[in-house]
Structures are given as structure tokens and as C-alpha cells.
């Protein structure tokens, strides 16, 4: 049975019909047009579809759409400001070369946000732990770690 799911998406309330077996990723990419959320494996193994639900990083490919009801969800589209500015974390990935093909990037950036929201000053081991669920085939991760450190430093300076 289709039900209406209500949640806060990138700061704005949404109401959208969802089937019981529908995956959150299909809801986001389909009727909600959040195509920045990427599907890399569909089995929770690669992290490309990571979104933040109530502060926690979640694989949208494993998350049942009806369970989104009442939650607050952030996708990559919700990170920048109201205009076309990039957020500090997004800018970090650009400045430090943490992006190549870019397909893992939205998931990587959201995992980084979830990590830095929790641990503003992470050790390298904590960064590796925070991003352990996000696969990248292009970068070898070195410049991704540099991006996270760059972002952490600037976010700390800001606050």
C-alpha cells in the first residue's frame, strides 16, 4: 500500500507517496530529483548513496522509504548555501584534489560531514574509520584524507 511519507529534506518539509518496499534512494532520485545521491552497488557496500538521516550517515539503498517518515534528511544538494556556493567540506574536496571521476564524491562528502559534526577534530584513524564504508576507485584516498583534514581545520576556525 502506497503511503504518504513526510520528512524534512535539506531544510524544507516534503510529503511524497512511497511504496512499502521502495528504497529511499529511489524516492530521492526519482520523485524528489535529488540525483546527487548516487547508486554504486545497491547493497550497502560502497557508500556512494550515503545521506544523513537525523545526524547519522545512512546508505539510502538499504533504507526503506516509508521509514523516512518524521526524519530530517540531508543530501548533497542540501550542503551548499541558498545560492550556488559550495560548503566548506565541498570546497575542501575541490581544493585538495579529493575528486576524480566524482561518482563516490557526494557519499564521501556526506560521510565527512557526519564525521565532522560528531568529531570536529578527528585523528587520521578516526577519519579512516568514518570513511571506511565509502569506496573510491580513482583516488587511492590520500587526497580525500587531506580534504577532510583541510575541512576540519577551517570549520574549527569558523566556530
Amino acid at each position: 500500500m502506497t503511503q504518504i511519507v513526510s520528512f524534512v529534506l535539506n531544510g524544507a518539509p516534503v510529503q511524497v507517496p512511497a511504496d512499502p518496499h521502495q528504497r529511499l534512494i529511489d524516492l530521492l532520485r526519482g520523485p524528489l530529483h535529488q540525483t546527487g545521491t548516487k547508486e554504486g552497488c545497491g547493497q550497502g557496500e560502497c557508500g556512494a548513496c550515503t545521506v544523513i538521516i537525523d545526524g547519522r550517515p545512512v546508505n539510502a539503498c538499504l533504507y526503506p522509504a516509508p521509514e523516512a517518515d518524521g526524519t530530517t534528511i540531508t543530501t548533497i544538494e542540501g550542503l551548499g548555501g541558498d545560492n550556488t556556493e559550495l560548503s566548506t567540506i565541498q570546497r575542501a574536496f575541490v581544493e585538495c584534489g579529493g575528486i576524480q571521476c566524482g561518482y563516490c564524491t557526494p557519499g564521501m562528502i556526506l560521510s565527512t560531514k557526519a564525521l565532522l559534526d560528531r568529531r570536529p577534530d578527528p585523528t587520521e584513524a578516526e577519519i579512516r574509520q568514518g570513511l571506511a564504508g565509502n569506496l573510491c576507485r580513482c583516488t587511492g584516498y590520500v587526497q580525500i584524507i587531506e580534504s577532510v583534514k583541510w575541512a576540519a581545520e577551517r570549520l574549527r576556525d569558523k566556530s
Binding site: C46, C96, C101, G102, I109, R137, C138, G140
Partner: protein, 793 residues
């Protein structure tokens, strides 16, 4: 030579959109009225097709077309023409396409595929090259593409090289060592899976948005197909969206693309075919597996006297460009180190395994694995330090190798010394405690690679009224940083700021021809073409400036004097200065070389361009060039020809620790020193190297597509391990040797592939140094190490 932009750490122009989730991949791309295509795969390794019943699928609401070989024209694919978009009489591999559906959504299409019933008559299969070559082996292909009967399963491709006298060289060797080395099937593992959208317009011309590295060869393939389905003289336009990695998967056109075209033609609507991860693993061609038998020998001083290489490759059921791996294997086999007597031969055989295709390195990692492992074994037998062995036989600039490759510049010696120093070779070789170091070198094309009649690249630079430089280039940005190299290269060569350079999407309708983004040729070709086009544009700009410059600066002066009433202009006869001086342009500002430094005595490029445009008989400036590098299409049956305009070298060193209880190899650090000619953008170059090293580590330690009777057993990231951020937890030190090659743009060589070539043998050599066991088949798993330790006792 000092450069303004080249060599500067510069963020990539495409990364902001990717960071915002705004870049449009094929997964995100939609067209009005678009249908979704799904394919019915055989799930049989070798069988005759008795019947295909599509009636149930056709009746499912939402299904718009069901196609099979019975109701569509025959479409042959692959450069050997041995494959078909849809299989008619028999299937030869598990992933053979037997039918396809177009429906209004992907779920209905998938459901319809399930409703297709295929009746097979099973045939005996062959699953190893050895079985395939046996006398009584069943034939995978009974006939060749011309319909002539085939006698065996060997491919009609010959790759052979002999130089000097390999037999005499073997006899002359004081020491020699022989061994057989193997490598597994590897999944390229692009994070963005394969897919395309095909659409016909009402004039029956085709547009296909494809995940390809060869838009122009794909256009040719698809136009040929249009002819085969009764659409002669129709055009095909190939447009490349953002690619979620490619790594060689885009070097061929694929059955799924032809199927989407057939479905689009049948339905009159755009059709998208998209693979999910399991399909990508199961139904997209992986990297070839290989078996390399190698022998090398040296005299009492360690000088190599011969090298003997026999390659056997499992081609799978059909042929892709991947079957030409031996064209690249031949390069290191004949030309890495100085070897006077060389024998090289490669055979490929059909089996009922999945057919294979290209991946980064293209045969070089396979050959290098054997060569560099075996060279360490030879060094030990000869009692020579492995580093010293490589020094003794090191290549040098100016030499012509047995294959006829012309070494223009050679940084190999510097790379060896760099790795030796950084890995602390002498001290660490004797450290014991189950720790060891090893190294391996590489040799690869660095100046294009002519394996096709043309190795050329066209490029258009189009200037507009605002001083923007629009670039149209047929090569493909797939994550490697091509657009970054192009924008820096254009900015440098033309004399504008990089942020005024806009690289347009790759589209056969707007971009000039390019053979493809392979062979590490992207930046080398694009920047060489950019330099040629920029020189032409500068000539055009400066010619127009002769007449326009004096008028514009006169206006500038008036305006300046109005703002600065007390300013006294120096006495400059601009017309005379134009006659005797030369123009120069920097950051989009045109000046005269000998003019005094006055604020009004220069013209911005956009002002000049508007002056050229908006007048009677005005002009718009653009330049179209075609750069074809000075290299040769080798004769691969004789193994001779200078395939590339220049060659890349590199050395990697590894320090490892081996757990003798579990057999587990832990990398403690990696050092990679590469002759890159010239660093174009340190940020993207480092990214290329780190990423290649990670793929090299996966190749060395974990990655293997497992099969049983042709079926892929591990089609997911849980069972097929690519390195995660947790595995890549060790220091990596990079060193770039700049040999400043005359043929390279700004001195640069191609570097896309080299980073993963010697990683596996460097690690294997380190494992040997640590615990004295030699692994000869990749990957180096704990089980293999443990078994070898047991055998050693």
C-alpha cells in the same frame, strides 16, 4: 623554461559540480518519453538455443518491445566481428545476450525479462586455455566471421618478436632462471556502472549518450550497425556524459549499447540501458587473465644476454580490443632494460569464459609481473643485488631498442636512485624480522600509442567576444583530469588565465576526431594539439592587432587622461612601435614587447576580439588543428615499430611485513618514482599516481574475479575486494623525475597507466626479501603465502 600555469597545483575545473552532486552521469540522464531496456542473459556457458518464447513478456502491461535475434537484423560487433548484439543459434558464455525488453519503467522491464523462456541444448564447455587448445576440444566458434570453418580455438592474431639470437643468448648466459607467472581476471570496478541512452530523431539519425572512451570509433561502429539494420547513410552522434570512471571499459562498443539502439529503433522512443553492480560484475568484460612463461639470463657481470617470453591468454568467448594486450606486452618484453637477444610470442585462445577487455596498463602489468619477479630471481642466482642488477642493465636516452623503439629521454636511472634512497634500500634489505623491501621498474608508452591507423587528435579553440576560450576536444574526461590538463595547457600556450578556458562536453557532433582516450595519451595529445592551436590563434590575434592596437590604445589614453588630469603621457609613437616591436599576450592582455609600462598601453583580449568582430567584414577567431604524433604503427607479427613518440619509465619500491602465522602481507610503505617528463598539474598528477597505486595494491593482494565453469562467483564488493581507505593505511611517497621531453607538451609524457604497472612485482619482491617465498600467481593471498612458507619448511 619558466611556466605561468604549468606546474602549479590547481584544482580541477570539473570538480565543483561533482562536489555539488550536479554533474550529470548516465544514471542521472533522462529524455522525454524515455523507455528502460533490460537484457535476458544466457546463464549457460555453452549451449545451443532451441527456442526463445517471449509471448508472456510481450503481454505484460508496460512492455513496449521484446527483441531477439529472430526478430531483429543480425548485428555483428567487435573488431574481429565474432560477437553478436543478440545471439541466434548458440551461446558461448554465461553472459550472452539472448533477448531484450523495453518497458515504461525498469521494474516492468526486469519482470518481463524474467518471463522470457529460453530452451537450450547444453554443449560441452572449455574453461582454460589448455583445455581449449586440446586436440578434441569442442569449438567455441565453428566458423570465422567470413563463414569459413575453424579448426581450433586459437585466435587468428599473431604477436611475435625475435631479435639477435635468443638461442645463442641463452647459451651465452652464465646464469639463467625460468618461471611461469599468472594473473587473474580483474574487474575494473568503476564506481559508476555502465549504461547508455539511445534515441532516433524523425530523420532516422541516431544520438547515443554513451559511457565511452572512444566516441569516434564508437560512432564508426554504430554507423556500421545502422547500415546493417537498413539505415544506410544515417548519422550517429555520440555524446559523452560525466563518467563515473572507465579504466579501459570504454575502449569497445558493447552489446548493451547495440541493444539499446535496436530497442530505440523498434519503439521509436529513447531507451536507456543501465547495469547495476551485480550486472556490471557479471555481464561486463573484465581484464584478461594471463599466463606468462619467462626466462632471462645474464653473464658473470650481471649483463642480460637474453629474454624469452611466451604468453598464453584466455580470451573468453569473443574478442574485444583487449585481445591486443600483447601489442603492449611486447614493449617491456623487448625494451625494459638493455637485452640483446629477445624472443616474444603470444597466443590467445577462445574459451567459454566471460570475454575480456581492456584495463589500465593494457597487458603491461601482466608482463611486468613476470619480468620483474623473474629478474629478482635471476639476480639472486647470479649473486647480484636486485637494485644493482637493474642499474647494470638500465636503459639510456638515445638508444633504439630491439623492437625499434626510440628512447628520446630516459629517467629510469634517476628513478632507481630515488627509490633506493627513499626506501633506504641497503639498510632495509637486511632488516630481518619478517620485514623486507623490494622494487620493480616499468616501461610504457608515454607519447601516444599507435595501435590504430591514426593516433591523432583534433582540437578546436573558439574565441568569443568576451575573451573566453572554448575548447572542443574529442578525448574523454573520465576522472583522470584531462580537462584540467587541457585548461592549463591552453592557458599557458595562448596566454590567458585558466579560468577563461572552457572545455566543452565531448560530442562527435561538435568535436574534431580523436582516436580515443587510451594508452596514457590524453594529456600528451590534448596539450600538444592545444599548443599547435594556440600558436595559430596568437598569430591571428597579433596580425589583427597590428591595425587595431594603435586605435584602441589611443582611446585608452584619452580615457586615462580624463580620469587622471595631471598625468603626462610619455612620447610614444605607437604606430612605429607596432612596426618594430612584437606583440605578446599574458593573462589575456596584449602588449608590445618594447613598449614602456604604461597603464593605457595595452589591450585586453576581449576588447581586441570585439574590434575584430564588430566592423565591416569582421571576423571571429578560431583555430582547428589535428595533431598526429611522430610514431609508427608497428608490424606486430614481426614485432617492430616505434609505437610511441616517447616512453615513460618508473620505479616503485615496497616495504612489507609478513605474518608467518597467517600468511598475511602488510604494506608498511610504498615509494613511487616516475619519469613524467614534466609535471603539468601536481595535484592531478599525484591523484593519478595515488589512485593507480591503490589499483596496483588491489591487483597485488586481493582482487580476483572467481569463476566456476564460466560463471562469475563473486559479483559484488563484499566478495570482490577493492582497496578501501582502511587497507590503504600506509605512507606513500611520490617522486616525479622531470626529463623534459622535446616531444611532450611542455616536456610532459603520458602517465595515466604507469602508476599501477610495477606495484605487484615490487610487493612480491619485498615478500621474498622478508620471508624467502616467491609467489608467482596473483593475487598474493595469505593462503598462497602460508602454503609457500609450509613448502619452504
Amino acid at each position: 623554461m619558466a611556466y605561468r600555469h604549468i606546474g602549479q597545483e590547481t584544482p580541477r575545473p570539473d570538480s565543483a559540480d561533482k562536489a555539488a552532486g550536479q554533474a550529470v552521469y548516465i544514471h542521472d540522464f533522462e529524455r522525454p518519453q524515455m523507455l528502460h531496456g533490460k537484457i535476458k542473459f544466457a546463464e549457460q556457458a555453452h549451449a545451443r538455443i532451441v527456442d526463445i518464447d517471449t509471448s508472456k513478456a510481450e503481454r505484460l502491461p508496460g512492455v513496449k518491445a521484446v527483441i531477439t535475434a529472430q526478430n531483429t537484423p543480425e548485428v555483428r560487433i567487435g573488431f574481429m566481428r565474432d560477437n553478436f548484439a543478440l545471439k541466434r543459434d548458440k551461446v558461448r558464455q554465461f553472459r550472452d545476450e539472448v533477448a531484450a525488453v523495453a518497458a515504461i519503467d525498469p521494474d516492468i522491464a526486469a519482470e518481463a525479462v524474467e518471463l522470457i523462456e529460453v530452451t537450450y541444448e547444453p554443449l560441452p564447455g572449455v574453461f582454460t586455455p589448455k583445455e581449449a587448445l586440446a586436440e578434441e576440444a569442442p569449438l567455441i566458434h565453428e566458423t570465422d566471421p567470413r563463414g569459413q570453418p575453424r579448426e581450433n580455438n586459437r585466435l587468428d592474431l599473431r604477436y611475435h618478436h625475435e631479435s639477435g639470437d635468443p638461442h645463442l643468448g641463452r647459451q651465452a648466459a652464465k646464469y639463467s632462471v625460468e618461471g611461469t607467472f599468472s594473473t587473474p581476471l580483474i574487474q575494473q570496478s568503476c564506481m559508476g556502472t555502465a549504461g547508455c541512452v539511445a534515441e532516433f530523431d524523425r530523420n532516422h539519425h541516431l544520438t547515443i549518450w554513451a559511457k565511452t572512451q572512444i566516441p569516434f570509433l564508437a560512432q564508426r561502429d554504430f554507423i556500421q550497425m545502422l547500415g546493417a539494420i537498413g539505415l544506410k547513410e544515417r548519422n550517429c552522434r555520440v555524446i559523452v556524459p560525466a563518467l563515473g570512471g572507465a579504466f579501459g571499459t570504454g575502449l569497445d562498443t558493447h552489446a548493451y549499447e547495440y541493444i539499446s539502439i535496436l530497442l530505440a529503433w523498434r519503439t521509436g522512443r529513447p531507451v536507456k540501458v543501465l547495469y547495476d553492480r551485480e550486472q556490471e560484475f557479471s555481464y561486463l568484460s573484465p581484464r584478461q587473465s594471463s599466463e606468462v612463461k619467462i626466462a632471462q639470463g645474464c653473464d658473470e657481470n650481471g649483463k642480460l644476454t637474453f629474454r624469452w617470453v611466451d604468453v598464453l591468454m584466455d580470451n573468453g568467448a569473443y574478442t574485444s580490443w583487449g585481445a591486443t594486450y600483447p601489442t603492449v606486452m611486447m614493449l617491456p618484453a623487448t625494451s625494459l632494460y638493455r637485452v640483446p637477444n629477445v624472443y616474444f610470442d603470444a597466443k590467445l585462445v577462445y574459451t567459454n569464459n566471460t570475454y575480456c577487455q581492456a584495463m589500465r596498463g593494457y597487458g603491461n602489468p601482466e608482463l611486468n609481473w613476470a619480468l620483474e619477479s623473474n629478474l629478482d630471481e635471476l639476480a639472486e642466482v647470479a649473486g647480484i643485488d636486485p637494485l644493482e642488477m637493474r642499474r647494470i642493465n638500465c636503459n639510456r636516452a638515445g638508444e633504439i631498442t630491439p623492437m625499434g623503439l626510440q628512447v628520446t629521454t630516459c629517467g629510469l636511472r634517476d628513478c632507481l636512485e630515488s627509490v633506493s634512497e627513499k626506501i633506504e634500500w641497503t639498510a632495509k634489505r637486511r632488516q630481518g624480522k619478517r620485514r623486507g623491501v623490494g622494487l620493480a621498474s616499468l616501461f610504457h608508452v608515454g607519447g601516444g600509442g599507435r595501435i590504430y591507423r591514426s593516433d591523432g587528435s583534433g582540437l578546436i579553440l573558439k574565441l568569443d567576444d568576451f575573451g573566453n576560450v572554448n575548447v572542443y576536444y574529442g578525448g574523454v574526461e573520465m576522472g583522470q583530469g584531462l580537462h584540467s590538463a587541457l585548461s592549463l595547457g591552453v592557458a599557458e600556450a595562448l596566454g590567458v588565465k585558466p579560468d577563461k578556458v572552457f572545455v566543452n562536453p565531448t560530442d562527435t557532433g561538435t568535436c574534431p576526431w580523436d582516436v580515443g582516450t587510451h594508452a596514457s595519451r590524453g594529456a600528451f595529445m590534448a596539450c600538444n594539439a592545444a599548443i599547435k592551436a594556440a600558436a595559430d590563434l596568437r598569430r591571428q590575434i597579433f596580425t589583427h592587432a597590428k591595425s587595431l592596437f594603435p586605435k584602441i590604445v589611443a582611446k585608452n589614453l584619452k580615457r586615462y587622461q580624463k580620469k587622471h588630469p595631471h598625468y603626462t603621457a610619455p612620447d610614444v609613437d605607437v604606430a612605429a612601435l607596432v612596426d618594430r616591436s612584437t606583440f605578446e599576450m599574458r593573462d589575456g592582455v596584449v602588449r608590445l614587447a618594447d613598449a614602456p609600462d604604461e597603464p593605457w598601453l595595452s589591450v585586453s583580449l576581449d576588447t581586441l576580439l570585439r574590434g575584430i568582430h564588430f566592423r565591416s567584414q569582421g571576423e571571429m577567431l578560431l583555430s582547428h588543428v589535428f595533431y598526429d604524433p611522430p610514431n609508427e604503427l608497428p608490424d606486430f607479427e614481426k614485432g617492430r615499430g616505434n609505437m610511441s613518440a616517447t616512453y615513460a619509465y618508473g620505479v616503485q619500491g615496497a616495504e612489507v611485513e609478513v605474518d608467518v602465522e597467517t600468511g598475511e602481507v602488510t604494506i608498511l610503505r610504498l615509494v613511487a618514482s616516475h619519469d613524467v617528463g614534466r609535471v603539468l598539474n601536481p595535484q592531478t598528477l599525484k591523484g593519478q599516481m595515488y589512485g593507480a597505486l591503490a589499483q596496483g595494491v588491489g591487483y597485488a593482494l586481493y582482487e580476483e574475479v572467481c569463476t566456476a565453469e564460466g560463471r562469475i562467483l563473486n559479483p559484488n564488493f563484499a566478495d570482490y575486494k577493492i582497496p578501501t581507505i582502511a587497507e590503504m593505511d600506509f605512507p606513500i611517497e611520490l617522486d616525479f623525475i622531470e626529463t623534459d621531453d622535446d616531444r611532450g607538451p611542455f616536456g610532459a609524457k603520458g602517465v595515466g597507466e604507469p602508476g599501477l604497472v610495477p606495484t605487484a612485482p615490487a610487493i612480491a619482491n619485498a615478500v621474498y626479501n622478508a620471508v624467502g617465498v616467491r609467489i608467482r600467481d596473483l593475487p598474493i593471498t595469505p593462503q598462497k603465502v602460508l602454503a609457500a612458507l609450509k613448502r619452504k619448511g
